[in-house]
Symmetry: D2
């Protein structure tokens, strides 16, 4: 893989990073997870990768951060890959909900026979508990191996973030015990939470996110290594989820103003998949791309404040919306 | 406009109509609106139109029916066209909600400063009350004129359906008085409901729906008449709404399994917009299309039972998903 | 009936009025009903009546005000009187709810087969619609006649308050249409609301409220006129409702700190029934009493701010709690 | 203490036990706690005690059972006794809620600054965590000591029931983690649950319940031993809670039809406090009484089916209602 062969694109990205950096003041770092709360909220970085493997990077791209909710999309893919989409869709629905990502209300009111979707915490914890493996450790190792294969390099957990979240996740424990009572979990609560909090604490870079976005854009196929990692069907459902539920409770607004399937995390990361769009009149990225963004100041919905605004501008200028 | 120049496509559609007709037993006609409840639940028809104006029709395509909730998408377009998208998005949000289309719960719990989206009844009644015109009648005339211009022919209200809904819409009245208290309505409740129930009762055919779908697929442009009816921006937000909220509480499943922006109504109609997708390997409709479907037996979510299954098959076979 | 034969009691009441007057600053007059919003919030008055018909009055007792929610208790009695308690309890439950008096949420969530209790608006509007009479006017006349018989004098509606509430009761209309859809109402919505808003607008004095409280304390019997107006059973259920739901969402706190069955209204009135308590060590009112209070500055729950505090003091000093 | 000096009363109680035994078929033993689910649902027993220490017992009175939710009333008293009522009421409210005893919905919707009342699980677990003692074990020992002093004999935990509930209380764990996040608990979740589940598993007899009821009826005073255990104020608030929230979601109906402050548990036990009522025309128990009931078949609300019906009859016949 080579980095950036087209300096014009990189210059353009650098200009947009500078233009949007200031939007970080509209957000703040995630205060409820101490280890996340203390990072520099002013950072903003982006990497894009095209189908030939060229990376175009601008801003703060060297800092690693944790996957947080971005992991929800990847665990969904991993599980679907192993057991097939039908197995997964029998256990987690794919309907958006207007409630908060950690809400118990819709469960108690509607008593659904499965969580509403895999991108709310209830669905994500359920998905994690279902991963293949005879115990929590094996299940997490499966996920880790799957991601390492996609990325082509080893990954690690940020132990400080893990510890920080483990100690403060009363709300997730409440949710998980609720799921346990509903018989949605295949593991004991503490084991299921261990996987979930571990996957949230995986360290990642914007380059990694861009590559993952590209593989999703190419329906499970890595156009650089020519490896087919997962089926078109799994990729499509994942992108549907990214559009309808990927950006917490502003998914609708993100779809309306950006229109790129994306998944965000409270660390400030965003993974976006730009599918090919040959009929577009814009020259750049008509053959699709992957995007990784990092901007740790998050807005009230939980999305990178500056990152969201920057993607809005990029999508508009380069006509990247799927709509 | 000429009807069907490619007999192979029509034959294929006829085969799919026959294959999917039986799925009508999974639904029933809308019993809570007497005039809708008494139609033949076994009917199923489809029309597709391509960018050259060729129609491909199969099954029961001569029966007219009423727009019902499909009108919500059109009123949103009409209002946005007149006042601009910013004006509308200040007054109605574009976020999906997991609650029923006529639910009051999210309002009372969250006390939002605008309805969640224009495709739930709360948002739709609000939109209708905001249409240009100094009273209810003028406002409805504006909408009617807008639709007639899109369709190129006069439209009419089904008086029996209108009367039936007017007399039984206690729940919509409850909702509208709730909206009135929240200061969302520009009209008195009865006037706002009059427009809303009128727009639901507009008579339409699957050919009409196909044409409207085509104009949305072409971002507000009619490729046959070469008329630009509304902006790309309005079309895109409308398609986002169709994907995230267009099929009531199975919008997520429809997006996952069909992947075409669509809006349904409890009359059993569906309007779908197939955008161009030049990179698709399938020959048919790579340049986009509009689809109109009619199948009056609706499932528990409110969507045509047979129509939904048929679209699932068509989308898969012809690779029409935007995801 | 003679007024006050025991000057010591009246002096004591006057002292307590003066001590508690200042608590009015903890509340404000009901702003959402314009005609109520403009009265002097500083007023405070009380009347007590004993079983011999002696009145003990202090403070602002000459000003008439409107019944508002106090009417809910009286309509319940009137309806039960005519059709029997079983008839009524089949149509309205007697369970407290933690939700607001005008909430639609519990209906949509629990879909009960009857309103939770007759003291929330849903139950009260239902009760009003069920009153005997072949139309709304006859039904209201029945209620009016019933109250006049209890009070021994004609009553009138405050037309300004009626008009004010009629024009602004969007939320009650929303609720009533909801009830209509659930088939709880025996009348059309507008007719049912007319009775409900009329009963709320009935003019009353603290002396009247005291007498009504005494009749409830004496289980439907007026110890002065020796007339039995309604059954012990009806009186007891009414007092249960007063304890569990009579003071809106601070009924529990009122019961804990005052312990007297009472019903309040947003006009600032309170009707309280002090049952006989012969084992009490206090001399005053061991044979029971009725209490009427007026203090138009209401707290966030909707109860007279100064009136509630004054009743707390009186109950404590004279040991009037039923608990 | 002597057992029954008035054979007529005992005979009457025996007749009522026999008359009401059959109502057990309207309920079933608590299936969600395996150790409770397997007891004989047909049993029914009652003990009453008067102010002179005479017991009147009938039916199945020798079988011990567990306190379950009855313990909520006792823990509230114990905590109030030690820290004072003000301390407790700052940390738990006394308002009834229409939601289920283990509901999380009202917390998420209303975000109250304290649980609604100590008789829903949220309030009860909070109360237990606040008991005096530097850890969970000390806190439970405090409660145990308090109860043993009231009862005059040692008490024990039913280990099988404790184990059964500990293993299956996912929902209570969910609730407790929710409370932990809201900062309501003074202990770690597992420790707080340990006390709560221990108190629920305390073995008790109908004679014990009768004595506890008598002490509550006498406002914290044991008229037999002449010991004042707790203040009148604490007793009164406890009785208010018993009336408004003591019988789960049929507290209102129980108050309307029985009218005696009571607390039930899913084991089928009921503790009731009959205050003195000298003005009553009935001879029996005009000076007050305590009642203990056991009937393990519970209705959908969680109350002893036969026990509730029997108390309804007894209250009516002997005029025991406080209303």
């Amino acid at each position: 893989m080579t980095v950036q062969n087209n300096p014009r694109i990189t210059e353009q990205l650098e200009a947009w990073v500078n233009e949007n950096k200031g939007h970080a003041v509209l957000g703040t770092t995630a205060q409820y997870i101490p280890a996340l709360g203390k990072v520099d909220p002013g950072k903003l970085g982006i990497c894009m990768i095209d189908e030939d493997g060229h990376y175009y990077c601008a801003g703060d791209t060297d800092k690693e951060f944790t996957l947080q909710s971005i992991s929800k999309a990847l665990t969904f893919v991993a599980l679907s890959c192993h057991y097939g989409l039908d197995f997964v869709l029998e256990r987690v629905d794919v309907e958006p909900t207007g409630e908060a990502f950690n809400s118990i209300v819709p469960f108690e009111i509607h008593r659904p026979n499965k969580p509403f979707n895999p991108f709310i915490n209830a669905g994500a914890i359920t998905i994690s508990s279902l991963l293949p493996g005879r115990n929590g450790q094996k299940k997490f190792e499966f996920l880790k191996g799957f991601l390492e294969e996609l990325l082509g390099h080893p990954i690690e957990i940020d132990k400080e973030v893990y510890d920080s979240e483990w100690a403060t996740s009363h709300r997730n424990r409440a949710l998980a015990y609720y799921l346990k009572e509903a018989n949605f979990l295949e593991l004991e609560v503490e084991e299921a939470l261990d996987i979930y909090i571990s996957q949230c604490a995986i360290k990642i870079s914007v380059k990694d996110l861009a590559l993952l976005g590209l593989i999703l854009a190419y329906d499970g196929y890595n156009p650089i290594t020519k490896v087919k990692h997962f089926s078109e069907e799994i990729a499509q459902v994942t992108k549907v989820l990214m559009v309808t539920c990927g950006m917490y409770n502003s998914s609708g607004n993100f779809a309306a103003h950006v229109g790129i399937p994306a998944k965000s995390g409270v660390s400030g990361g965003i993974m976006a998949a730009v599918p090919p769009k040959l009929h577009s009149q814009t020259y750049e990225f008509r053959a699709g791309a992957g995007i990784g963004v990092y901007g740790p100041a998050i807005d009230v919905q939980g999305n990178s404040a500056a990152g969201t605004m920057m993607l809005r501008q990029i999508s508009k200028e380069w006509d990247l919306s799927i709509f």
